[in-house]
């Protein structure tokens, strides 16, 4: 059975980049355009991993991670941040809110594949 990954990013091109990189590896990818939509989609499938941007409308990445970690049903799901924010303050804040890994944009698709495989294989 295919592992299912949820990607939350307000940029359609980034959602597509991640989707292309991960479907090539045999994963199923579901997209959400912000944190709010990601929270709506979480109960709709058995997600194995979440990839999220930080700067998003409605519900940003930090809030999304916090919401996931506070929910008993999803608190064990590995979360990877994928953001163009590369300052140590943001990285530390992201990890403190509950993310497992932090990838900086522009990203190497192989690095995303590697990071995902670390948690799913």
């Amino acid at each position: 059975m295919k592992k299912v990954i949820l990607i939350a990013d307000d940029s359609p091109t980034i959602r597509k980049f991640v989707s292309v990189a991960l479907t090539m590896q045999g994963y199923e990818v579901v997209s959400a355009c912000d944190g709010m939509e990601a929270m709506e989609k979480l109960p709709q499938a058995q997600f194995d991993l979440v990839i999220t941007d930080l700067n998003m409308p409605n519900l940003d990445g930090f809030e999304l991670i916090k919401s996931i970690r506070e929910d008993e049903r999803y608190k064990e799901i590995p979360i990877i941040i994928l953001s163009s924010l590369a300052g140590s303050a943001e990285i530390e804040k992201g990890l403190k809110s509950g993310a497992n890994s932090y990838l900086v944009k522009p990203f190497d698709p192989k690095r995303v594949q590697y990071e995902v495989s670390k948690y799913l294989n």
Binding site: T13, K16, P57, S84, P106, P109
Partner: protein
């Protein structure tokens, strides 16, 4: 007599007050003489500056009108590059799927080839060494087992996959430029709002109704103003180091 004596000092007192007032009046006139030329200069300056202020006001109004259009054009550029990038990525996705199919086909072919080689070996054994077709059978068998099609093709497929990854990486410039353009739009919107307020103050009239900030289609996009497209691993290295440190502390 006594009454006269009393009235005289009072009279003199009043007179001295009148002189005092006259002296004050004289000072005011003297000051007036000095100030009138300055006021005249000021009036002349105002006469000269008012047309200039009106020109500035009209220029600001014109610029304010054009700003939402510029912002919309920037937003259009972002949409166009986004569409083009998505179309290219769709093709890259299709190439990836095709490559995966070819790879699966080659693996299947390899398994079939192994079966054929096995069957040939059985046939060779059954027909014996003196059969007329022995040489041809040997040749076919050698061709089947020595085929390097799978290995060479897999290498080629991996190389193409590598190239598609590189295309994907390079195309991320679109996302970064979209964020930079959104930052420019935000700046234009801020300048427009300030200028609108300035024109409002000058005209004492509400021109905001003509140039509503909602005209800015770039508004509302979330962006990182410092987003930059660099292929260096530096930023990721910093992130990795912080993640490592965080894991070490948590363990």
């Amino acid at each position: 007599m006594q009454e006269e004596m009393l009235e005289k000092p009072q009279e003199s007192n009043s007179m001295s007050k009148v002189f005092e007032r006259l002296s004050d009046l004289k000072s005011i006139f003297k000051f007036g003489e000095k100030i009138v030329p300055i006021i005249q200069s000021l009036v002349e300056f105002m006469r000269e500056i008012i047309p200039l202020l009106e020109t500035i006001n009209s220029s600001i109004s014109d610029s304010t009108k054009k700003m939402p259009m510029a912002a919309n054009q920037i937003a259009d550029v972002t949409s166009a590059t986004e569409l083009a990038t998505t179309q290219i990525l769709d093709l890259v996705d299709d190439i990836g799927i095709a490559l995966n199919n070819i790879e699966s086909g080659l693996i299947q072919d390899e398994e079939n080839r192994a079966k054929v080689a096995h069957l040939l070996a059985v046939i060779k054994e059954k027909v014996g060494p003196v059969h007329a077709a022995q040489a041809e059978l040997d040749e076919v068998y050698d061709l089947v087992i020595s085929s390097q099609l799978k290995e060479s093709s897999i290498q080629l497929i991996e190389a193409i996959k590598d190239d598609t990854y590189k295309i994907t990486l390079s195309l991320q410039v679109q996302d970064i430029t979209a964020q930079q353009l959104a930052a420019v739009n935000h700046l234009i919107e801020s300048v427009n709002n300030r200028l609108t307020m300035l024109v409002q103050d000058i005209n004492q009239s509400d021109i905001r109704s003509e140039f509503l900030p909602e005209d800015f289609s770039g508004g509302g996009i979330h962006f990182d103003p410092n987003a930059s497209y660099t292929k260096t691993e530096g930023k990721q290295d910093v992130a990795d180091a912080i993640v490592q440190e965080s894991r070490r502390v948590n363990n």
